[in-house]
Amino acid sequence: MAAVAASAGWLLRLRAAGADGPWRRLCGAGLPRGFLQSASAYGAAAQRRQVAHFTFQPDPEPVEYGQTQKMNLFQAVTSALDNSLAKDPTAVIFGEDVAFGGVFRCTVGLRDKYGKDRVFNTPLCEQGIVGFGIGIAVTGATAIAEIQFADYIFPAFDQIVNEAAKYRYRSGDLFNCGSLTIRSPWGCVGHGALYHSQSPEAFFAHCPGIKVVVPRSPFQAKGLLLSCIEDKNPCIFFEPKILYRAAVEQVPVEPYNIPLSQAEVIREGSDVTLVAWGTQVHVIREVAAMAQEKLGVSCEVIDLRTILPWDVDTVCKSVIKTGRLLVSHEAPLTGGFASEISSTVQEECFLNLEAPISRVCGYDTPFPHIFEPFYIPDKWKCYDALRKMINY
């Protein structure tokens, strides 16, 4: 019976797929009916893939920017790019596969709307993409480059660090590439493993001359991306890929700016300061709620938003108030950006600290595939570190 039910289920799914029929035959799916039984038929050893390690909490609908629309994060990015190309006739978008809409759909519809000279594919070459983008920016036009995954940004490291970041300084301000923005999907996604999960912001934090920005939500993404595009310095904008679909909220249709180098206190508190950026903000938000409920501890939650130059004042002001700091990121612990925050805060707020600063980060390993649930700095690890800090 189970076998019949299983194959009936398979049949239903096939019919629902409809005209995928010829396509499936072409791809050689051609498996006998009932071949793939339902996962539960294999017993307890077969597990469903994990649900996300966070819950996205939308911010309240913004009222000061006019009409809003429900958008997920990639749609918010598209909206920002649409606004930019409409406002700025020199702006162009380029990278691998951006013409058809992009592997994450961030550029859907833009080529049709603005033309093939403004939204175009490049050959598969990150050093070329960034170098090319620098050259466009040197002439004063706006260049919006996409690197398909942050994990692949490293071939462009020389162009970013040795060229883009130093262009204005080394020329005595005769030349600059301030109108360059590099966008790239960033962070863990549940199954990305070594090369589709990286958060390389720490490599770039060590590079004076560029700005590095990470949004936590669609509303933040659009405002921060627009600020990056309009900023007169080369910017890297990392987009948490796990939030592309998972994060949905009301986002203004018209353009608006969220300032760079300003952290945001998204929850006020008095006992502990929690700092994160991107996806991890939602993790520590939940930790704050857990701490309040289970420990009666009041947490102040800060979204750093800009990694470089970072908002030292907001973080220090908070730690002076609370006396305790926990910083969390997916990137590996050693040399991660939490080290920079920790070092600066202990310099500035030493006498205010009640406990050592805590860093809850990825392990010092490459990002593993099947072990992701164990690797990431989830809410339990953050909660545990917080508890130890309180009891110090």
Partner: protein
């Protein structure tokens, strides 16, 4: 047809069909697809099972049933175009560019003035007056011949051995020296090693030390010029060594696929520091790579200033008219050492160097040509040598006497605006110098501004920076009307953004 309709219904950009699913839909002529994709995909290839021709999207070629590897031709490579022989006589009169006397004299004077400046500045490094220098001996023809064939506003991306381009564009000796000395007159504000020149006015992008990084940048600039209908070409210089870098490959490929009006100018001078060309590449130089990218290419005698001129002139005309890249490989010889940090007798013979210095030098060949035309003689030569030396010495002595810039310039231009953390570091250095100043060479630097005036200076800087940037944006590297319009739009759009 029902299948086609169903397929068209099913297809959405979000479905994971990816690229593999598209040929199917192309066959079925799905309208939604055709609208939103590139012209290449709209050229619907006609598939017929009766036709035995290759159908691969990746190459346009016939089948062959004989196993044969294509032999790279390095025995007799791409021929070298020249106009003058080694004695400066025009070989084929139809290739004579018939340039006016004044222009050809400018070629000669630019090359010789550069040569004189090189001698004096090389010597000044040996004497410890400047920290470093790179000469251009033997390659003056490549600089001047190509620069003369461009418009004044064509954007130049160089590597580091193209000072003759600036010389031809009348960059003053004072500014060459200022950059080498890093004195208060240096437009680069003393930040870079000598010979890292840059000039916005003369459309010469500031040199950077990493090799070949300028190549994809030049391509981007060319793309922007095309979009702006600027009728400008971008020229990108690099050596045969730098052409081995990945950035060179990237640049060539992007220029071809994105159809950019750019001239790639390779100075093949035989050496990359000590590495001879036999260890740099195994193919037929750099010119042979062009066709591999779909780029029109030529090899020229780099020591023949007219050959360089003709090739560059024609490449420029066509690059702008047809929006496609051109590759010129100028064969020459690096007579000098790589730099003042190099002694090339360690890896090559004096005889070899002497051959090029005495038998095939761009300056000598042009002088012979000028003399045979009656446009120059020994007396003028003597007078000009004296005059050029005097000019260089005057500029040199003045440059030596000037102070270095204020150390506050360590901290500006990292970003357009100075971030708070950097201002704190600037103040920290100022305080440090107040206490420990005696241990620093402050006497050679422009007077330090006291720390408590730094904040008001910051306010002034912020206001003037905004004004200067707006003004600066009106004089883009291309200086064409269309770009001014773009820049104005940019200025207006950013006046109210939320950053400090």
């Amino acid at each position: 047809m029902a299948v086609a309709a169903a397929a068209a219904r099913v297809w959405r950009p979000s479905r994971g069909l990816g690229r593999a699913g598209l040929p199917l839909l192309r066959l079925l002529g799905a309208r939604g697809l055709a609208r939103s994709h590139t012209h290449r995909w709209q050229q619907q290839r006609h598939f017929s099972s009766l036709d035995d021709k290759p159908q691969f999207p990746g190459a346009s070629a016939e089948f062959i049933d004989k196993l044969e590897f294509i032999q790279p031709n390095v025995i007799s490579g791409i021929p070298i175009y020249r106009v003058m022989d080694r004695q400066g006589q025009i070989i084929n009169p139809s290739e004579d560019p018939h340039l006016p006397q004044e222009k050809v004299l400018k070629f000669y004077k630019s090359m010789t003035l550069l040569n004189t400046m090189d001698r004096i500045l090389y010597e000044s490094q040996r004497q410890g007056r400047i920290s470093f220098y790179m000469t251009n001996y033997g390659e003056e023809g490549t600089h001047v011949g190509s620069a003369a064939a461009l418009d004044d506003t064509d954007l130049v991306f160089g590597q580091y051995r193209e000072a003759g381009v600036l010389m031809y564009r009348d960059y003053p000796l004072e500014l060459f020296m200022a950059q080498c000395y890093g004195n208060v007159s240096d437009l680069g504000k003393g930040r870079q090693m000598p010979v890292h020149y840059g000039c916005r006015e003369r459309h010469f992008v500031t040199i950077s030390s990493p090799l070949a990084t300028q190549i994809p940048q030049a391509v981007g600039a060319a793309y922007a010029a095309k979009r702006a209908n600027a009728n400008r070409v971008v020229i990108c210089y690099f050596g045969e060594g730098a052409a081995s870098e990945g950035d060179a490959h990237a640049g060539f490929n992007f220029a071809a696929t994105l159809e950019c009006p750019i001239i790639f100018f390779c100075r093949n001078n035989g050496y990359a520091i000590s590495t001879p060309t036999s260890e740099q590449y195994r193919g037929d130089g750099i010119a042979a790579r062009g066709p591999g990218y779909g780029i029109l290419s030529i090899r020229v005698d780099g020591n023949d200033v007219f050959a360089v001129y003709n090739a560059t002139k024609e490449a420029r005309r066509r690059a702008v008219a047809e929006n496609q890249p051109f590759l010129i490989e100028a064969m020459t010889y690096r007579i000098g050492h790589h730099s003042t940090s190099d002694d090339s007798s360690a890896y090559r013979s004096v005889d070899e160097v002497n051959y090029w210095d005495k038998q095939d030098h761009p300056i000598s060949r042009l002088r012979h040509h000028l003399q045979s035309r009656g446009w120059w003689d020994d007396e003028q030569e003597k007078a000009w040598r004296k005059q050029s030396r005097k000019k260089v010495m005057e500029a040199f002595e003045q440059a030596e006497r000037k102070l270095k810039p204020n150390p506050n310039l360590i901290f500006s231009d990292v970003y357009q605006e100075m971030p708070a953390q950097l201002r704190k570091q600037q103040e920290s250095l100022a305080r440090h110098l107040q206490t420990y100043g005696e241990h620093y060479p402050l006497d050679h630097f422009e007077k330090q501004v006291p720390p408590n005036t730094l904040r008001s200076q910051a306010v002034l800087e912020a206001c003037s920076a905004r004004l200067l940037h707006w003004a600066g944006s009106l004089v883009s590297p291309f200086s064409t009307l269309s770009y001014t319009v773009f820049s104005q739009g940019l200025g207006e759009g950013t006046s109210g953004t939320g950053h400090p």
